[in-house]
């Protein structure tokens, strides 16, 4: 094969470059999808139900503009709100508004039903302000909806439609706000703003994180491989494989999501590994056998490395493909993109790098590498090996205890799908969300649609009962339903204390005539969000002041319990519910991808080591790392979300390499006739060093995620570093101790095939990687 690589090197180089560049040219055509509801499959019940409700009552995504001041009821503030509200009313992208100037007061005054605007005149003195305050506090459609009870904030809530793009509508909203300056501090919030910011931040992140990761990797490569010619080989593989997988996004008609940002980072961190092995090994062989012809050196290089690289690559791909079992759509896409990228990196490492080496090898082979032993690093490795040899039992026991203790944190792991939490606490959008949730009932909603004769008293009372019971729930900021409007209308018909006051009329005719009365004095559009024109569908809108999944699930359960015997068809949907389903998907996806990845890796390890026991032992560090990381998440309060849900598959994919490398090396040492103690010391001293430095380079790649604008992505960065660290300890501490203690038979079997025989005899099948890092060891 080596001869063919040399023969067709230009073709190989040409194909690889052309493929990478072609796909890279597609990247600018990528579009961003900030809509988290598209993360869940369209067949999911909550999405189907939400679509049904939105078809009838329009999209329920709200923008909320907050006006905050020590006292919001000043003439200046109210004039500012009025002017902004009036301009909003002219925006084609805004379908309905609830503002201090749209809310009505329904009153029964001297035999008259009066449906007047809440603010007919802007108060000019303190007595008028007091009067207005009283009216606001007694108006259920105003208190904590358009004015906070403490009169320090007011809000304009607008639902937006699709007549213009969301981006354009938000730009117009911002420009209206900018055109009406005032004393009040204005904050903008709501899901459309969150989506808008996510879209901008995803692009910003891509522009910042990817270059940072590449620079870090370039430095790591320079540090480990020495000369730039050697550095550029694996680095080119990183660039080409990343370009290929990212170019697939527009080619497959997919869109960039927050979590697809992880694809280039995964590739930057992982795709260079195989190249590093090859280049480093080439440097070592060149140093040893400098006088041999290049073809012979290259042949030795590929025959010694192809197998372990292939196994490493396959296990990594298998781990990452675990994401395919996720029901979260972008998670599956990340699985496909990252697996494609790793496959490309693997193939390029096996063909493209040898082809490049065959071109440049002679120029570089002697330009590098001097074996310089580093006393500190070697001392540490020696002490570690000594400890493992002396106390394998204690190490196993303490690892077990530590894992059990840390894994107990799993019980505390929270699921978080609230997009508001993507932003840091000091972000204005997060601040707006906090004020909306605290003072205005929240911007995230659950919708209940009731289909039937809404004027029937049984159905209206059912709606009323549901409304009142939901209003009393913790985490519910407000409930809006047509039954509340009917109750308010009854106040305009009956006097306080009179039978019928603040009640649902007992007959269909009574309710129908009440609506007719309102239509004469009010505006039918006042309630268009709550009931359709022919009174066949009603909409109950539940605002969540605490949009946590726990609250969402409790509300959902309550609705189900209360509507079991409902005399009408009930549809439950809404953005918050989609989020709850999303959370469910995360858990199911986490479990399924974990099982898939673990089982696949176990099978692969069993094949590699030709023993089921080998597969099981090889999987121990991964299983322990999974427990430790999830336990850490529980203790540290980092929640499982769209991004961190990808963790286990990626951890398995990346972390398994270390175990394979150690066990392969140990097998080589044992087969050389060394004792278990000596084989352990030799393996730790050689491959242990490489594994540590390899892990550091992967961690360095992922550390770029700490520069993300999204809290979730930053947390993913921390967690992946912890998990790689955990896999590292598992591979160079726990696995050696297990092998030392239990001496499983498979580890003494011959693993390598005939092609690698010559190299095995030469004793350093895996030693290869250690060579790559001797420079680092020297400089460390």
């Amino acid at each position: 094969m080596t001869a063919r690589i040399i023969k067709y090197r230009w073709v190989i180089i040409g194909i690889c470059l052309l493929t990478g560049i072609s796909f890279g040219l597609l990247i600018p055509f990528s579009k961003t999808d900030p809509e988290i509801r598209n993360y869940v499959p369209a067949s999911m019940k909550s999405r189907i139900e939400t679509d049904k409700i939105e078809n009838e009552f329009g999209v329920q995504d709200m923008i909320v503009i907050l006006f905050c001041d020590s006292s919001i009821l000043t003439s200046g503030n109210l004039k500012q709100i009025k002017a902004i509200d009036r301009d909003f009313s002219r925006l084609p992208g805004v379908s309905s508004r609830i503002s201090p100037f749209t809310v009505k007061t329904i009153k029964n005054s001297e035999g008259m039903m009066v449906a007047d605007p809440l603010i007919r005149k802007i108060p000019s003195d303190s007595s008028e302000v007091t009067e207005l305050t009283k009216e606001i506090l007694s108006n259920r459609f105003a208190r904590d909806i358009v004015f906070s009870s403490d009169m320090t904030s007011a809000s304009i809530t607008a639902t937006i439609n699709r007549s213009e793009t969301e981006d354009i509508t938000l730009q117009k909203v911002d420009s209206i706000i900018g055109a009406h300056p005032g004393d009040a501090r204005i904050l903008s919030g709501g899901l459309p703003y969150i989506r808008n910011h996510i879209m901008k931040d995803v692009n910003r992140d891509a522009m910042i994180i990817v270059p940072i990761a590449l620079i870090i990797m370039l430095l790591v490569l320079k540090f480990t491989l020495g000369d730039w010619r050697s550095v550029l080989k694996p680095f080119t593989v990183v660039l080409l494989s990343t370009a290929l997988s990212m170019g697939l996004i527009p080619l497959l008609g997919w869109k960039l999501s927050i979590i697809s940002l992880l694809v280039p980072i995964i590739l930057v961190a992982v795709a260079n590994n195989y190249g590093i092995y090859l280049v480093a090994r080439h440097q070592e062989i060149s140093l040893k056998n400098g006088n041999e012809p290049e073809g012979s050196i290259l042949k030795e290089l590929t025959s010694s490395l192809n197998m372990p690289i292939l196994f490493s690559g396959l296990t990594t791909i298998a781990g990452i493909l675990g994401l395919l079992t996720h029901s979260i759509i972008p998670a599956r896409q990340v699985g496909i993109l990252a697996a494609t990228g790793v496959t490309a990196a693997l193939v390029m490492s096996l063909f493209f790098i040898p082809a490049l080496i065959s071109l440049t090898g002679k120029k570089t082979r002697n330009a590098n590498l001097k074996k310089v032993k580093n006393s500190w690093f070697d001392g540490f490795l020696n002490r570690l090996a000594e400890m493992i040899v002396k106390h394998p039992g204690r190490i196993i026991l303490s690892s077990l205890i530590l894992t059990i203790i840390l894994s107990s944190g799993i019980l505390l792991v929270k699921i978080e799908t609230n997009q508001e939490k993507y932003f840091p606490k000091n972000n204005p959008l997060r601040q707006a969300s906090d004020v909306i949730n605290k003072k205005f009932g929240g911007s995230q909603t659950i919708s209940v649609m009731v289909t039937g004769d809404i004027k029937s008293p049984e159905i209206m009372k059912g709606i009323d009962d549901l409304t009142m019971q939901l209003e009393d729930m913790n985490g519910v900021g407000g409930v809006f339903s047509i039954s509340q409007a009917v109750r308010e209308m009854s106040k305009g018909i009956y006097n306080e204390g009179e039978r019928g006051y603040n009640q649902i009329p007992p007959s269909t005719e009574g309710i129908a005539q009440m609506f007719e009365l309102y239509n004469m004095s009010g505006d039918q559009d006042d309630f268009k969000q709550l009931m359709n024109l022919d009174n066949s569908k009603a909409h109950i809108l539940i605002r969540l002041s605490n949009p946590e999944n726990k609250v969402i699930n409790e509300v959902k359960e309550k609705i189900t319990a209360l509507t079991n015997d409902f005399p009408a068809e009930v549809t439950v949907g809404g953005y918050a519910l989609i989020m709850a389903d999303f959370a469910g998907s995360i858990i199911r996806g986490q479990v399924s991808s974990l099982i898939f990845a673990l089982v696949t890796v176990l099978i692969l390890l069993a094949i590699i080591f030709r023993s089921l026991k080998g597969g099981i032992i090889g999987s121990i560090p991964l299983a322990a790392s999974i427990l430790v990381v999830f336990g850490f998440m529980g203790f540290s309060g980092i929640a499982l979300d769209g991004a961190t849900a990808l963790l286990s598959s990626i951890m398995i994919g990346v972390g398994v390499d270390f175990t394979i490398q150690y066990m392969w090396c140990f097998n080589t040492q044992i087969r050389k006739g060394l004792s278990y103690a000596d084989a352990t010391k030799a393996s730790i001293g050689t491959i242990g060093r490489s594994i540590i430095i390899n892990a550091i380079s992967v961690m360095a790649g992922f550390s770029a995620l700490m520069f993300s604008g999204f809290t979730s992505i930053r947390f993913f960065g921390y967690l992946v570093i912890i998990s790689i660290g955990s896999c590292l300890i598992g591979a160079i501490v726990l696995i050696p101790a297990i092998l030392m203690k239990f001496r499983p038979g498979f580890i003494e079997k011959k693993l390598s095939n005939s092609k690698t025989k010559k190299h095995e005899k030469e004793n350093d099948l895996i030693n290869i990687t250690s060579a790559a890092f001797t420079r680092v060891g020297a400089t460390a």
């Binding site: 039903m113 009956y494 009329p505 007959s507 239509n519 004095s521 359709n532 024109l533």
Partner: protein
């Protein structure tokens, strides 16, 4: 000489076109009926295709001072049958409206100063259902007025309060030159955007050139909702006593 050349076209126009206000006044006079009764079918058609129908019986009486009284009784749908309304349309003061709800056995007065407010939740406003006072508007011909056998007259509310009351900043009325009958009306909002049209589909001719609109469609161009009013069983000879328009009769 130059001046006379410049003035000739203007003189020509003014000689050709009667005063816009006078045209509006004449058209209004021809549509004013002393008293009449009719059955009205009101259909509201949503953009989604959903419809809502109301059938009402209406009796009106106009008084020389511009006062107009209307008595409305709901016939369909069944759940609002018997609901009755009494409207006293004062030209210069706030309208007075009472509604009787038979299921609740209650009569309630409704206060509304807004003539622009929707008539029974339709695209028609209360003002569209009556004849607005001419003094509330400044009328003038549009550039194309007089062509196609139509007077096209623009009516602008005399002040902002009136604009708020009527719910539009400008109205363009198309009137047939020969019969002075209204053919179409276009309504513009505060941003001078056309937001509503009313098309007269058919009329009911009365004596002395007078007429009554029989079928008209209002289209809201913003909500894409349409409302249609169809008059039937028109009786312009009906003699109605003043006592008919009383609260006692409302609850009967």
């Amino acid at each position: 000489m130059i001046l006379s050349i410049l003035l000739v076209p203007l003189l020509h126009v003014s000689a050709q076109q009667p005063d816009a206000g006078q045209i509006m006044s004449k058209s209004r006079d021809l549509s004013l009926i002393g008293s009449m009764s009719a059955t009205i079918n009101l259909s509201i058609l949503e953009k989604s295709g959903a419809t809502r129908n109301r059938t009402i019986a209406m009796t009106t009486k106009s008084y020389p001072d511009g006062l107009e009284k209307r008595f409305i009784k709901f016939i369909e749908p069944a759940d609002v049958r018997g609901t009755a309304m009494l409207v006293v349309d004062n030209k210069n003061v706030m309208d007075e409206m009472w509604i009787y709800l038979p299921a609740l056995k209650k009569t309630r007065r409704i206060v509304s100063s807004e003539k622009g407010k929707s008539f029974m939740s339709s695209e028609f406003s209360n003002a569209d259902m009556s004849s607005p006072a001419l003094s509330d508007f400044v009328n003038k011909h549009t550039a194309t007025s007089g062509s196609n056998n139509q007077w096209i007259i623009e009516s602008i509310p005399v002040n902002e309060d009136k604009a708020d009351e009527y719910g539009y900043s400008r109205k363009v009325t198309y009137i047939s030159k020969d019969k002075y009958q209204i053919l179409k009306m276009e309504f513009y909002n505060i941003d001078n955007e056309l937001f509503k049209t009313i098309e007269i589909k058919s009329i009911f001719p009365l004596q002395d050139g007078k007429y009554m609109i029989k079928n008209m469609i209002a289209s809201n161009l913003i909500t894409n909702r349409k409302s249609e009013i169809l008059f039937s069983n028109i009786n312009e000879q009906v003699k109605v006593d003043d006592s008919f328009f009383s609260l006692q009769n409302l609850e009967r």
